[in-house]
């Protein structure tokens, strides 16, 4: 809502000079308008909600230029979420007070009201409202001589009555032949619109007006009609809500966060400035042309999609659906998994994806398709995108995201063909057999069905991981306060020294953005990530450091260690050997021809020679220790690290290496001692805290392990692996009550339950 207010120049936030040529206005309307595709979401749980023929309506949407200030304005402008009706209510309640006060009050973080008469949980309800309402903000196509025209002019007269302040009188209308979906649309819309138009009137007045309108159109004004339809499937709702909650833990906060961000924006500058600055950065046309490029790429991709493989997938899923349908468990029958499979077998899902047609039409309709595709494919992505949008600074970011979403589609596509290659028949048979033959585990069907709910989400997550870190691409944080800092390297070093690792990461990221050729920046960033228990980011930054300075010993060792942690043996060997090659003292030991075919035995032999050459060099022993870890000769590794520790007793990372080796060879108690040494030397050493948790967990002391995991996460909430481990420990400690806190990443609750 806020965005549209801002750009379209609604009364609450007037922006003089924002004309229809404002690309942002167009953009906003596109975003908010096109979100109606989410209506299809409601189809998922199997309820028989009538979805208005959104796609065809959408194509015929009024041109962009009609949006702000035109006669369609009343219809176009729709508050797209609950917060807005709350907003309007508040405006209404303070209508006679001073406007500034009202503004402030409105932007207090408001508690979202539950949607009355709907048996669904608030987080989802809220989103559904957005969908509903923006769906209903479809402009009526003005077709000649049709009932639509009658309806349109009728609705206009309603809007006009609001402007002139004349009460609206019911009028007799010819039969319009409205479908249930249309009626629902009008009902929802007119209620909201009325609130808007008659913001200065009383609630009763609004109701009377709306009733008059609805009565004329022969629409039942009972809002609970819809609630009733939903009520018929309480179990499904539960499922759906549950999975929505699990999939989007951040959703509940979304709207209020957004609102507060918006209020910050308005405090800082007047809205016009924002619009101007946007235009300055991107140019009025820059964004559009960028978008067009994307579009062309999209088209190319669409053509390459293998239609045959989709048909094949459809065929095979059909068989799978048949097998699954034999299962009589009602819960399973209603499950999303089955819905999905049968949808796919009917071709609905694939056909949706095929809608990526050659974009011969306007760019905007291409975008609509894109949006729809995104939606039907990944209900989550919209929310996700919004969430990230909120964190990002500008539309540029948004464009990037658009590009990456496009890649995501490719993944989706791959998945389809992968799916079709799976010999579904076998799979289906197997599944059916196991299901009917051996259902001794209780709630089996539920488990399997439920986990489908996480499927799309997981795909997103794993895609992101796969696309960025493991390919060695460094992933920068959004919103870095250190960008623009005069000396971020010094700041980063200072923060690192103080043990504020997550903060140091930000400062060092600012440094490498400023000086991408600075080895030290990348190196320290890598070290910081390693200590913060993120090997993939550590590898990514160390690789950048190595590009700049290929012979840096610390960098090579760090790469060897991180690859060892990721169990990537060959990579690890390669870097450890390069360490030897580049060492001023031992370089002569390493024959260059060996680099082409690295045999573990040869390398260990060389390092042993080096250790004899200089028994006082702790570094050689460290590398030996890492090498023995690679070969899983933990006893030798322990000896090597212990030797190194005699030479460097205050090296906390060395203590941790010893501990980890001991833990990996199931010497848990020894490991705990070593980790404690590390933590005494460096209290904020996230990796050691996490390792402590692992060690306790492996020893079956799950309560303790949770404490340490939580501690590690409180210092670095981005440590994905630790979250996974934490979940396992919670499961093993039989604290199922904490799953929700874990899944929503609520550290406060976890810290309260497991203080350290």
């Amino acid at each position: 809502m806020a965005m549209r207010d801002l750009v379209t120049g609604e009364p609450s936030c007037a922006v003089p000079g924002t004309s229809s040529s404002n690309p942002l206005a167009a953009l906003t309307n596109k975003i908010l308008g096109s979100s109606n595709k989410a209506q299809e979401l409601k189809g998922l749980p199997g309820t028989s909600v009538t979805v208005p023929d959104a796609s065809s309506d959408f194509r015929t949407e009024a041109p962009l230029s009609t949006i702000p200030g035109s006669e369609h304005e009343g219809q176009q402008y729709q508050p797209p979420d609950v917060q807005n009706s709350e907003f309007l209510r508040q405006v209404h309640s303070v209508a006679h007070g001073d406007p500034a006060g009202a503004w402030g009050e409105i932007h207090q973080p408001t508690i979202l009201p539950h949607a009355p008469g709907r048996g669904i949980a608030p987080p989802y309800a809220e989103f559904e409202q957005i969908y509903d309402q923006s769906a209903s903000s479809l402009p009526q196509p003005t077709l000649d001589g049709s009932p639509q025209r009658v309806l349109s002019s009728f609705l206009h007269s309603f809007v006009d009555s609001g402007r002139s302040g004349v009460p609206f009188h019911p009028a007799a209308l010819p039969m319009l032949g409205l479908s249930e979906g249309d009626k629902q649309c009008i009902r929802d819309r007119s209620c909201i619109m009325a609130r808007h138009i008659f913001a200065d009137k009383s609630e009763e007045y609004i109701n009377t007006q709306v009733n008059a309108l609805l009565h004329s159109l022969d629409i039942d004004s009972d809002h609970r009609v819809r609630g009733h339809i939903r009520g018929a499937y309480p179990e499904l709702e539960e499922y759906w809500t549950e999975s929505q909650g699990a999939m989007n833990p951040r959703m509940p906060h979304l709207a209020s966060k957004w609102a507060s961000e918006f209020s910050q924006q308005t405090e800082q500058s007047d809205p016009e400035a924002w619009v101007n600055s946007f235009e300055q950065i991107h140019g009025a046309n820059g964004w559009a042309s960028e978008f067009e490029q994307e579009q062309t790429q999209m088209t190319l991709f669409g053509q390459t999609g293998d239609y045959m493989s989709k048909m094949l997938a459809m065929e095979q899923t059909h068989m799978l659906a048949h097998t699954l349908a034999q299962n009589t468990d009602p819960k399973f029958q209603n499950s999303k998994f089955l819905q999905f499979v049968s949808k796919m077998s009917r071709g609905e899902l694939i056909v949706d994806e095929n809608q990526i047609k050659p974009a011969t039409g306007s760019v905007s309709s291409g975008w609509a398709d894109e949006f729809q595709t995104q939606h039907s494919a990944n209900p989550n992505s919209w929310a996700d995108q919004f969430d990230r949008e909120e964190l990002s600074n500008g539309a540029n970011k948004w464009a990037n995201e658009f590009a990456s979403e496009r890649i995501l589609q490719k993944v989706e596509d791959q998945w389809v063909s992968e799916f079709s290659n799976l010999h579904i028949q076998d799979w289906a048979d197997e599944f059916g057999q196991q299901f009917n033959g051996d259902v001794s585990g209780e709630g089996l069907a539920d488990d399997w069905a439920d986990s489908y709910g996480n499927f799309l989400n997981e795909q997103l997550v794993s895609f992101r991981k796969q696309s960025d870190s493991s390919r060695g691409v460094y992933e920068f944080s959004d919103l870095n306060p250190y960008v623009g800092h005069p000396n971020p390297l010094k700041e980063g070093q200072e923060l690192f020294r103080k043990g504020l690792l997550s903060e140091a990461v930000l400062a060092l990221e600012a440094e490498v953005l400023k000086n991408p050729e600075n080895t030290e920046g990348w190196r320290l960033l890598g070290i910081t990530h390693a200590e913060n228990d993120d090997d993939q980011q550590a590898i990514a930054s160390m690789m950048r450091a190595q590009e700049v300075d290929p012979g840096n010993l610390e960098v090579l060792l760090a790469l060897g260690v991180s690859h060892t942690n990721e169990l990537e043996r060959e990579e690890a060997l390669k870097y450890l050997y390069r360490w030897l090659q580049n060492h001023p003292k031992y370089g002569s030991l390493a024959p260059p021809e060996l680099a082409d075919s690295l045999y573990y035995g040869d390398i260990v032999r060389l390092f042993n020679e080096a250790a004899q050459l200089a028994p006082e060099d702790a570094d050689v022993h460290i590398v030996l220790g890492v090498l023995h870890n690679l070969s899983r000769e933990y006893d030798k590794a322990i000896i090597a690290f212990e030797t190194a520790l005699k030479l460097k007793p205050r090296d906390y990372s060395l203590w941790n290496k010893l501990g980890a080796t001991q833990a990996n060879s199931s010497l848990g108690a020894d490991a705990l001692y070593a980790y404690q040494q590390a933590l005494d030397l460096k209290p904020n050493y996230v990796r050691a805290w996490a390792n402590m948790g692992i060690s306790y967990s492996n020893q079956g002391m799950y309560g303790e392990s949770i404490q340490y995991y939580v501690r590690a996460l409180s210092m670095n909430p981005k440590a994905e692996t630790v979250w996974q481990y934490l979940r396992t420990s919670i499961e093993l400690a039989s604290r199922h009550d904490l799953f929700a806190a874990c899944d929503s990443r609520n550290l406060d609750i976890l810290q309260k339950e497991f203080p350290l």
């Binding site: 986990s451 990537e568 899983r632 000769e633 833990a663 199931s666």
Partner: protein
Amino acid sequence: MPDSSLKSEALLEQMKLHIATNAGKELTKKIGLVYQLNIAPKKMGIDEKVFVVDLKEGKVYEGSYKGKPDATFSFADDDFLAVATGKMNPQMAFIRGKMKIKGSMSAAQKFTPDIFPKPSKL
């Protein structure tokens, strides 16, 4: 040093040591089933290495099980690791076709990330 570079092997090596500890013995008491794992380096079914995780006797070794395991799983290397470390849950792996199961479903249900030790980081 074994010549194989399966990541899963590193984890199973740790499992071998783990199963001899008290926590490992607890596991055999709790589960008491025999699993066979067929792990392929890249693509499921190709160049598979076979391992047995015997939670009846408390043994982990390479090679096929003499007799009928309660459940047999097929994985690609990375996917086994993802399941064993809790990155991907087994049901999900199955749905995605990343895991094939033969044998008893209830035995397969007990094949969870909990039974594997978590690797510590240097």
